[in-house]
């Protein structure tokens, strides 16, 4: 059953909030804030507002999350929460979460752990942080499903709402440019020395990025009660495993194909209902090949697909949530930006990604692939209601 999206917040290298993100997705230029990681790889930074910069008191992921959270709460008119007992929170994150806190680990090694560092460690669990900050009474879950975490957090939120566990769930993802993830992806040899070119024949890897996105998801009853109607919905979600390799996706894309078909089934849709596909599209050889094959088998050339990671970078645990928000923005605008820096068709990928264009779409698909063979598919719906309170 669909759930309502009544608020969104998004902070990524493509923009400081939802309102400017569309403009940040245009063209082939690098995003405004780029730099080099400690291993010399190009990374894309998010324009964190100084008002949200804790200057190291909290993890940067938490700072990013807080900024996106406040935007989403304002958008959903949830700045004042009257009854928090039926509000849950589910946030995805990955290698830059508190589990990889390098400073904390160094202090442990050197026997320098103190109360300040312990407090910082505990505040680094993003769902627990939001639950505490907003004094929520519903469930709180931090998903660490690698690069599908953000999408899975939204899917779990949908399950809670449909099960009647919550009326509202704050769902999303957050991740920062981090020494450990930077060093890890460098060690795997999957980062590009150049600006990434998802789905291009000459693609040679990904650029890491950072950011956060939050969606306020609500049951229809709750949204009606609060007189919130954005016309946006999460219509379907599914996840499926490759059961094949710890880091590489199934080269034929069988796992993501199962996830997409199950998500279509969950939403009660046919393949031709999908107006466009916001692909995971990292710019690595294997990811783009897997997705390209899966899209070809399911949609042939009927649904335009593209990647936005040329503008956001790969934001890891935040990616699924950021791309869900971006997909919603595109549904509202009825436009897609095309696949950044794409030039040459890969002969191993049957169909080319889309160029920028206007579209007519009620439904759109957002895909996420992750280490461990995790694959997730989200389907969003836009059904504008002229009588709604907020369009």
């Amino acid at each position: 059953m669909s759930v309502c999206i009544t608020g969104m917040g998004c902070l990524s290298p493509a923009g400081i909030n939802c309102a400017v993100t569309w403009n940040g997705l245009q063209g082939d230029d690098a995003p405004e804030l780029t730099g080099l990681s400690e291993t010399g790889q190009i990374v894309f930074m998010a324009p964190l507002s100084p008002a949200y910069d804790s200057n190291g008191r909290l993890h940067r992921s938490v700072d990013l999350l807080t900024q996106a959270l406040d935007e989403a709460l304002a958008d959903a008119d949830l700045n004042v929460i009257s009854d928090s007992s039926r509000i849950g929170v589910c946030i995805g994150t990955t290698s830059a979460s508190f589990l990889n806190d390098m400073d904390f680990h160094r202090k442990l090694r050197e026997h320098l752990v103190d109360e300040k560092s312990l407090k910082r460690f505990f505040s680094g669990n993003p769902a627990e942080y939001v639950k505490k900050r907003l004094a929520l009474g519903g469930p709180a879950m931090t998903v660490i499903n690698a690069c599908a975490s953000g999408a899975d957090a939204i899917g779990i939120a949908m399950s809670w709402l449909n099960a009647g566990i919550c009326d509202i769930v704050i769902a999303g993802g957050a991740d920062e440019i981090h020494s450990v993830s930077g060093a890890g992806f460098y060690s795997l040899g999957v980062t590009s020395q150049h600006l990434c070119r998802p789905f291009d024949r000459d693609r040679d890897g990904l650029n890491l990025g950072e950011g956060a996105a939050v969606l306020v998801l609500e049951t229809t009853e709750s949204a009606v009660r609060r007189k919130r109607d954005s016309g946006l919905y999460v219509a379907g979600y599914a996840a499926a495993g490759d059961a094949r390799h710890i880091t590489q996706p199934d080269p034929d894309g069988c796992g993501i194909e199962r996830a997409i078909r199950n998500a279509l089934n969950c939403a009660g849709l046919k393949t031709e209902d999908i107006g466009f596909i916001n692909a995971h599209g990292t710019g690595t050889i294997h990811n783009d090949l897997a997705e390209g094959h899966a899209f070809a088998r399911i949609f042939a050339d009927k649904s335009p697909y593209f990647s936005t990671k040329g503008k956001t970078g790969h934001t890891l645990g935040a990616a699924g949530a950021i791309e869900a928000v971006i997909t919603a923005i595109m549904l509202r605008k009825q436009q897609i930006p095309g696949s950044c820096r794409y030039q040459h068709q890969d002969p191993d990928i049957p169909f080319r990604p889309a160029a920028a264009m206007k579209i007519t779409a009620e439904y759109a698909l957002s895909t996420s692939l992750a280490f461990g063979g995790c694959n997730s598919a989200l389907i969003l719906k836009y059904e504008p209601n002229p009588g709604g309170t907020k369009l």
Binding site: L108, A127, I144, G184, I246
Partner: protein
């Protein structure tokens, strides 16, 4: 109501091959697994992953689930603190040898969803897999999600695990939970992925399996019991929640509901189904 069709529990000491081989022979012949192939699949894994695979194998063996049903099973791995030892091994290399000297194998295995991934790979499970980490609410969260999946038809069976490791961090946090800050003892190895781990596994389902039908449970959640956790509320006994449920499942005539982290579980013997 959901069914608990299989149980598994292990500490990481000892050989895992006996249990794995038994599970393979009884339940998973369709997957053509051999002991040699299992060894290859789990090479490079630390005790956290190994404990999870062992517990899963026991639960699958206990349940008698068929390979066909297993293929669409969901996997939920909950942990209070995650696999700190394997993560630390990768970070140690960065500190000791330089930021550009990380091991790709260690990084791959430090992915926080590695245990779920290896369970899927070893037993050919293609269903949804979620790994979460939420201090003391971890197992309860996993149980709630499993219930959602089963009731909403996401899958017919769910492997729910909690896995915890002994690490310098867990030692510090246990003491911090008691109100004091202590440093890890000198006997606690840093970044030792072979350090002791524990895993508990429940095979949950929405229908009876062929050879097993242990108990049925109902789950209710109380918001009042789930107030936002204090930042010191971490681990007194890390595996308390799954052990409490497992004990109740093994003694279903007790009829006392089990309360863990804000959820109440009522247990009934399968005979009354």
């Amino acid at each position: 109501m959901i069914l608990i069709n299989g149980l598994g529990f292990c500490s990481s000491s000892g050989s895992m091959m006996q249990e794995l081989t038994a599970a393979t022979e009884v339940n998973l012949a369709v997957n053509n697994l051999t002991e040699d192939r299992l060894k290859k699949q789990l090479r490079g894994c630390g005790a956290f992953v190994t404990a999870g695979v062992r517990a899963a194998s026991q639960a699958l063996h206990d349940s008698g689930i068929s390979g066909e049903r297993l293929a669409t099973t969901g996997i939920i791995v909950a942990s209070r603190l995650g696999d700190q030892n394997t993560t630390s091994e990768f970070i140690d290399d960065l500190i000791d040898y330089g930021i550009d000297q990380g091991s790709p194998l260690k990084f791959a295995n430090s992915s926080h969803n590695a245990a779920a991934s290896y369970i899927a790979k070893v037993f050919n499970i293609y269903g949804p897999a979620i790994t979460s980490v939420n201090f003391e609410a971890s197992f309860a969260n996993g149980l709630i999600l499993a219930k959602c999946w089963l009731e909403q038809g996401t899958c017919d069976n769910v492997l729910l695990l909690q896995i915890e490791s002994c690490s310098p961090l867990s030692e510090v946090l246990v003491n911090y939970g008691k109100g004091c800050i202590t440093l890890p003892s000198e006997t606690t190895a840093f970044a030792d992925s072979k350090a002791q781990c524990m895993a508990a596994c429940f095979l949950l389902g929405n229908q009876t399996l062929s050879t097993s039908n242990r108990v049925q449970i109902s789950i209710s959640r109380s918001a009042e019991q789930c107030a936002a956790p204090a930042e010191t509320a971490v681990i007194e006994t890390t595996m308390a929640d799954p052990v409490r449920l497992m004990s109740a499942v093994l003694n279903p005539l007790n009829e006392q509901p089990v309360t863990i982290s804000g959820i109440t579980i009522r247990i009934a013997t399968a005979d009354i189904l």
